[in-house]
Symmetry: C2
């Protein structure tokens, strides 16, 4: 009979203490501790964010921009610490997507109309 918000704070703590989050934190700090990898990673982030913003605003993305983004990704993936960080980001994102599916299950059950699942 626990409260939603209390449960959410418990989950916050569980995420913070999880191996996946601790590994991400370590990888992030390693990249940030080195001026060269920090700059490379921030350049990569900025390029990604700028493209996402354009996309969300419905603006066209030029071939040149796509090419530039591809080059930046290729560059950062060659840096072992950054590619390690990206791998750890992906792992935690996967976990959080799965958590999110667990949490929103009651809504899915409510709106998933049983008639449609019985092959009418």
């Amino acid at each position: 009979m626990s409260n939603m918000y209390d449960s959410a704070y418990e989950l916050q703590t569980a995420i913070r203490e999880s191996d996946d989050f601790q590994a991400l934190k370590g990888a992030f700090e390693k990249v940030m501790d080195d001026a060269s990898s920090k700059k490379m990673f921030e350049n990569f982030r900025d390029t990604q964010l700028a493209l996402q913003e354009k996309q969300m605003q419905g603006q066209d993305i030029t071939e040149e921009e796509v090419e530039k983004a591809r080059q930046v990704v290729e560059l950062v993936q060659q840096h072992p610490d950054i590619s390690d960080l990206m791998e750890k980001e992906q792992r935690l994102n996967k976990a959080i997507n799965y958590l999110s599916q667990i949490i929103t299950k009651p809504l899915e059950e409510l709106y998933g109309t049983p008639e449609n699942n019985q092959g009418e």
Copy 2:
């Protein structure tokens, strides 16, 4: 020291038992129990989903479609049971957005660069 997934299932239960979710469930069932409001609500959902799908695929939405969607919204809002359901949906969505902010706080703390918050 609880596991992320155990905590997520606890939160799932807390959401399912919450007043907000129970109120939504009741309102949804009331709309679904009446053939006329059920049809009206499903028509509304279909229109919304079709527009969202077009938007996500980057397709242009015509003025005619916007106008049609506006009319459908106006119509359903006049139905007391449907407008009650929509209000309860909004309330639960707000709660879930807030829960989501609590849960993803560790990531926000990690990536929120302190340099940028000190007005450099």
